[in-house]
Symmetry: C2
Subunit: 305 residues, 2 copies
Amino acid sequence: MMHSVTAKAPSSTANLGPGFDVFGLALDAFYDTITLTKQKSGITIITNDSIPISPAKNTAGLVVQYMQKKFKVKSGVQIKIKKGVPAGFGMGSSAASAAATAVAFDKLFGLKLNGNTLVECAGVGERASAGSIHYDNVSASVLGGFVIVRTKPLDVIKILPPSDLRLVVAVPKMIVPAKKTEVSRSVVPKQVPLSNSVTNLSNAAAIVAGFVQKDSELIGRSIQDVIVEPARAHLIPGFGSVKKNALKAGALGVTISGAGPSVISFATKKSNLNKIANAMKKGFASAKTDCTVVICKPSSGAKTI
Amino acid sequence: MMHSVTAKAPSSTANLGPGFDVFGLALDAFYDTITLTKQKSGITIITNDSIPISPAKNTAGLVVQYMQKKFKVKSGVQIKIKKGVPAGFGMGSSAASAAATAVAFDKLFGLKLNGNTLVECAGVGERASAGSIHYDNVSASVLGGFVIVRTKPLDVIKILPPSDLRLVVAVPKMIVPAKKTEVSRSVVPKQVPLSNSVTNLSNAAAIVAGFVQKDSELIGRSIQDVIVEPARAHLIPGFGSVKKNALKAGALGVTISGAGPSVISFATKKSNLNKIANAMKKGFASAKTDCTVVICKPSSGAKTI
């Protein structure tokens, strides 16, 4: 009988410009690793990272609590967490922990859950960081690839990205406020002009067509957001320069990764990715901000290792 | 040398629920037929239908005027128009005339224009009826199949629909106001809650995925619009009953066709299409309105015959 399972789950980018709260894409830039081990009772969290270790305040802890209850699992669980995804930078850090936990729990207790159920379970973990449940990052982190999230009821569509798609992520070195996601959400307008809604919808539709038809150029030129990005840009030092520089260096599209402050460029393997990376670095430098730049590609989903 | 060309173009449905001003789908329900014949000079319009015959007020006339100028064509043109698409019912009637005209003109003068240019030329004809240019119907009517329209710049993406997709269109017998499109547009809110924008975008994204992945069920269950349909429903007698009845009879999704008042049900060839048609008829009858019901499927685009 299985005693311990380790799973890893990838980072992810949400929104992809116009697809606020709907689109997610798993990225092989960073991974979280979670090891679940059966124990007599209760939930114990072990980690060297500076995250809460109370199960009720920890992403992985919340997922285990929820799955224990939902699937009537009596066993206690020790959770060992190794963070690889930087927390609070719009790279789906809590989603990665939640996704890896759900997949490890499923395997440890032989539940054989389907993708939608794993997403639902992992989504519970998002509450710890985001305050409310959003499925864009967790869906990508659990299932891998590009995802479209419909809710009421939860209905996640997964699409395999084009194999030539490449991304350049710039993660600025800055102090992220404790309630970053709430702040980022608070600046987004509650009401939007219908014309903006139509513009974003047409771009989002084109992005979906690009993913299904494996057309990275179409994806790139459709990464245009007239609602959320303009409202959030001021939260990111030098965003305008980062974007302008990256486009000039050949990026097909540039936008904020999730709630930010990371900025993501869309390109193909034929692009000069190092040139784009340097251009983004210079953009942040112009606002006296250092950044880490990662060239990456779409990732498969969470899996046991 | 060619002296005369006849082209026919299909009816179309715009919006498909959430895709206001972005989505169009060509339907083989009805066709307009346009014959262009070279003449010494000027534009002459011949028709037995009750439509304006002044070129500046006639859809086909506007397209010919525009294309003569744009492509420096000196020859005069006689335009013979045979309407098959009912005008003013949300079935893309003016778009069909415009599409057939653009395609016939292209052939008659050997221009060999590409799809985007034909769409742009046909779009000019929409001004005659809609007051402003919208490319959803004309794109579908010119190119056939399912289209996603991005503007600024015009960028139309065409997708071949699933072969099992079937539609049931109910065209109510009612007096349509002369400025129907303007009225229908005036009731649509100028500002929308972001949450509604997100809901429509997620449904629209799923519709695109459904078309590309040839999944009629996914298309059908994503035909859900929380912005335009609720605002326009009151303009259509018995809309609530028509929709409820059709869904009960097995339709996968039901919405207003374009600016209405036609109502369209999405189904597959396995659905009981006659049952859906009768259910829609009963829905209109409950509001003391008769209707014509057409069972149809996606169409290819405008072509010379």
